[in-house]
């Protein structure tokens, strides 16, 4: 059997589960969704083996060839992000299970939406043509907005609305670009044969649209509030994959569709990333709320990932891809921990954090481990990614990028250690007194395991690096 068939499962298992869940009464939605969410990651094992053997898997539906038909392909980058998605999703499940029980009003939409989000993300990662990508991204955005809105606070709703409006603006720009590409080349495939033609307006429209979705500074404004106000598990999965899906799409278009983009543009985009790194870290350092700190940190880290564009080498790709993996795991873990903290303390204001290490040692530890990865201290996954990028910068004598990459860790350290100092070492003078019921321990453990994983992959990065080392996104080299 062709392993590419399994790709269908990645998209259709959550989709079908979502449909089933919608049909069923509310109290059955949760177990069905759980089954669905646990089922599709199982496919990743055979798929990984297949990708490791065959490099990419391609699937074309029903004999209809692109551009009219739908084609999917799975490459190393997609696989890595699928793993992040799977792991973060599974780790978020206990928290979601606990929070969205059958008696909770928001549970009714939550579980189907959760599955639809998975569907959208998986489809976006598999998309082999530009339009298909648009559809998947749109699905993802809508599901994410809806999930954010399950919080039902004014802040969350406003954030969701803003996300929706800006996201749609971004998608429309993207789809305009897609239209122009089709006009120029008559093809929607991502790996354009006539890549040189994809220039200027089309490319710029697509890039800008995707940058909005990926929250690259200064197009990031929707992100902090959206992540910061979303329910914990949602924030976790969103920070782990949703933003990154757009980023991956951006990479693919950059390296694949517009195979030979001008260096000047690359440098400009790298510069934008550089500003994002600094600005995001600075803002994260000044946030008064834990979740906002973590959210802003994402903006900084996404900027970091933009550095792939100017560096544009195999090593840089390995580094950026690996950073994607490590950051996804760490960030999801931190959001999950933050979610538990909000549950117990009733707030995630950093003023309430002192003494946390005694009340919630597992969460504190998770934050610490995740923070270590964000900073990129060895030996963590963050370090591996950083080191590969550094090497890439060295190989190209890109001194500016080299110094920037090195300094980025320092800037992350500022906000991470601020949080750690407050959580663990501050005399608990102003800590809240009334504590809410503690979520089950498995939620804490799940977050911790995820954070541990983010560190451990730094010790054994070979499989991922091996996969990522076979060529730039989409097989270009």
């Amino acid at each position: 059997m062709n392993p590419a068939v399994l790709l269908v499962g990645l998209v259709f298992i959550p989709l079908v589960a979502a449909l089933v869940a919608v049909i069923l009464p509310v109290r059955f939605r949760r177990p069905v969704a759980l089954l669905g969410a646990l089922a599709w990651p199982l496919l990743l094992v055979p798929l990984s083996i297949a990708v490791a053997r065959d490099q990419t898997l391609t699937l074309v539906f029903g004999g209809w060839t692109p551009p009219l038909g739908i084609g999917w392909r799975l490459d190393a980058l997609g696989l890595v992000l699928l793993w992040v998605h799977a792991l973060a999703g599974i780790a978020a499940l206990p928290g979601a299970w606990h929070r969205f029980g059958p008696k909770v009003v928001a549970a009714a939409p939550f579980w189907p939406l959760w599955l639809i989000l998975s569907t959208g993300v998986n489809a976006a990662l598999l998309a082999a043509d530009l339009f298909n990508l648009y559809v998947s991204l749109e699905l993802t955005t809508l599901a994410a907005v809806a999930l954010i809105a399950t919080d039902d606070g004014i802040a969350a709703l406003t954030a969701a609305m803003r996300y929706l409006l800006l996201g749609v603006l971004g998608s429309l720009m993207y789809v305009l670009g897609v239209g122009l590409v089709y006009a120029q080349t008559g093809s929607l495939a991502m790996d354009q044969a006539d890549a040189a033609a994809i220039r200027d307006v089309a490319l710029v429209l697509m890039l800008t649209g995707l940058m909005v979705k990926a929250a690259i500074f200064p197009l990031h404004v929707w992100l902090p509030h959206a992540y910061g106000n979303a329910p914990g598990p949602v924030a976790a999965i969103m920070s782990a994959v949703v933003g990154k899906v757009a980023l991956v799409a951006l990479w693919r278009i950059w390296f694949q569709t517009a195979a030979d983009p001008p260096d000047l543009l690359a440098d400009l985009l790298g510069l934008v990333g550089a500003v994002a790194i600094v600005y995001g870290a600075l803002a994260a350092y000044m946030q008064p709320r834990l979740k906002m700190v973590i959210a802003w940190s994402s903006i900084s880290q996404f900027g970091f990932l933009m550095l792939l564009l100017p560096l544009a080498s195999q090593t840089a790709f390995q580094g950026a891809g690996f950073h994607l993996l490590a950051h996804g795991l760490a960030k999801a873990a931190m959001f999950l921990a933050a979610a538990n903290i909000v549950t117990v303390l009733g707030s995630d204001s950093i003023r309430h954090l002192p003494g946390l290490d005694k009340r919630m040692p597992l969460e504190a530890f998770t934050l610490a481990l995740g923070g270590v990865t964000l900073i990129g201290l060895p030996p963590s996954g963050g370090f591996t990614g950083k080191w590969m990028l550094l090497t890439a910068a060295w190989e190209q004598q890109g001194w500016f990028w080299l110094v920037l990459i090195a300094l980025s860790g320092l800037m992350s350290a500022a906000y991470v250690f601020r949080i750690l100092a407050l959580t663990c070492f501050h005399p608990a003078r102003r800590a809240v007194h009334e504590l809410h019921a503690r979520p089950p321990k498995i939620t804490s453990l799940a977050a911790l395991l995820l954070a541990l994983l983010a560190v451990i992959i730094g010790l054994y990065p070979h499989p991922a690096l091996e996969l990522l080392g076979r060529g730039l996104p989409g097989g270009a080299s």
Binding site: P378, W387, A406, G409, H462
Partner: protein, 499 residues
């Protein structure tokens, strides 16, 4: 020796205390007895392992553990004579400091956290000692930053938090500088292990300037932990940490890690000949000399006991760098042996300062009056260590100074002798008044604090201080013994000294 053993022992040495830390973290605050036993047993096992490896190395065995971290980037733990020197220092002092710390923190909160990080910190130090290439050294160096920070801020007071911030600012910046330097170096030279005499000589024709810049960056990066002036700012602030931490910071782990990194850089990455050829040797000597003098002057200005000790560390640790930079058999030995000697003396001083602070609430120098009579053992230990710092024979400090100074002359940099002498005089100027206050001034009306500490703990505190003080004298008196650090170091240095 069985091959698997030769591979397993170096990581085992590192992991022993990691394991201890895990047990301590998991057991939590309540299990005090378990924690004490785990601490002591792990420290003992580690010491035995180090001794085992040391004897095996002496017998000509090689230890090597390789693990490919990234393609072309290996984590290498090995054991050469220099590793053993540093490792045994850490192992011995860890044991003593653990005993001391258990007693010191008998009643204080957050002990599980403290001892957990304490053990992790020693793990990292062992990793630094055993590191077989620059990357491994760097990894453990960063881990050390990470694991010592919780110890620095342990008290949680605003001062402690500020000190922690300052510490991080300095050390993480140092880490960044190192990272850049290493990326550059790896790009130039590829993945190369430490080689006595360095491995960069073939590159010098082509990359002269790059190598110089990298060297400066490496020294700066390590120099931050080694507290080379003006990169020393974090060290005096870190004094707010509990005394065992200060002892650990100053004697075993942090500043020593920096100095050790510089040793490795100079001897095993570049080789002193190359350093001299790049024109970096004299500047390095100058930086060390400058640090020695200015550190002492700054110490003279302090009226807080621990801060004065901190500046003294700034000054003393640079002896190591000085010896390495001067080079030659004598000076190299002097520098390397000071790694051990300074550790022993400084750990004693901090132990004593901690005891004064804990039992009597003494923190300022003018409160030391008459303490000699009240705490004769502790004060004797303090006096011995302080005299050693000045370089009075037969305490170990003398041995270091002897080799450093004669080495400087042998290597034809006679002005270094002037620096050493000035430093000795300054040391005398800031240590002798303390000794005079301890013994010769009548005590003020300092009330004894309500001592909330058991007799056994008190004994442990005093015993650790006395033990290390005794060690400083014994090692000084038996410096020529074949098993002394000095003989060990002479052996190492004979492999390095290019002139």
């Amino acid at each position: 020796m069985a091959p698997w053993l030769a591979q397993a022992l170096p990581p085992a040495v590192v992991l022993v205390s990691t394991l201890a830390a895990l047990v301590i973290f998991v057991a939590g605050e309540a299990h005090q007895r378990l924690r004490i036993w785990v601490n002591l047993i792990a420290a003992t096992i580690k010491l035995l392992l180090v001794v085992w490896i040391g004897l095996a190395v002496l017998a000509g065995n090689t230890f090597m553990f390789r693990f490919e971290l990234l393609p072309g980037l290996e984590l290498i733990l090995h054991a050469d004579a220099l590793s053993i020197l540093f490792a045994s220092l850490s192992a011995v002092l860890w044991l003593v400091t653990t005993v001391y710390a258990i007693a010191y923190l008998e009643r204080s909160p957050n002990r599980a956290r403290f001892f957990g990080f304490f053990s992790l910190c020693v793990s990292a130090t062992m990793g630094i000692a055993m590191a077989g290439n620059l990357m491994t050294l760097f990894i453990f160096y960063e881990l050390l930053t990470l694991t010592t920070w919780p110890l620095v801020v342990h008290n949680g007071t605003p001062e402690a938090l500020a000190a922690g911030r300052s510490y991080l600012r300095y050390t993480l910046t140092g880490g960044v500088v190192l990272l850049v330097a290493m990326a550059w170096l790896y790009g130039l030279a590829g993945n190369v292990e430490f080689t006595p005499g360095g491995f960069l000589a073939p590159l010098v024709a082509e990359h002269r300037i790059a190598l110089s810049v990298i060297f400066a960056m490496l020294v700066a990066g390590f120099g931050i932990k080694a507290a080379l002036i003006p990169l020393h700012g974090w060290l005096p602030k870190a004094m707010v940490a509990p005394a065992p931490v200060s002892a650990l910071l100053h004697a075993v782990a942090v500043v020593k890690a920096g100095a050790f990194g510089i040793i490795r850089t100079v001897e095993d990455v570049y080789g002193l000949e190359l350093v001299a050829e790049l024109g970096m040797r004299i500047p390095l000597i100058a930086v060390a000399a400058w640090t020695i003098i200015i550190g002492s002057l700054l110490a003279l200005r302090e009226h807080e006991l621990k801060r004065r000790l901190a500046y003294s560390t700034v000054s003393q640790v640079s002896y190591i760098v000085l010896g390495i930079a001067v080079g030659g058999l004598l000076a190299t030995s002097g520098g390397m042996v000071h790694l051990v000697h300074q550790g022993l003396m400084k750990v004693t001083l901090f132990f004593c300062a901690g005891i004064y602070g804990l039992l009597l609430g003494v923190s300022r120098i003018d409160q030391l009056d008459g303490l000699g009579r009240r705490m004769p053992w502790v004060s004797t230990a303090f006096t011995i260590a302080a005299l050693g710092m000045i370089g009075v024979p037969p305490v170990v400090g003398f041995v270091s100074k002897w080799y450093l100074a004669s080495g400087a002359l042998a290597a034809d940099v006679p002005w270094v002798v002037g620096v050493l002498i000035a430093s000795a005089l300054l040391n005398a100027a800031y240590f002798l008044p303390l000794i005079r206050r301890l013994w010769l001034t009548e005590g003020g009306a300092l009330a004894e604090m309500p001592i909330e500490i058991g007799a056994l703990s008190r004994l442990a505190l005093v015993a650790s201080a006395v033990a290390t003080a005794a060690l400083t004298v014994v090692l000084g008196m038996l410096a020529a013994h074949p098993l002394s650090p000095l003989s060990w170091v002479l052996e190492i240095a004979s492999g390095y000294a290019p002139w």
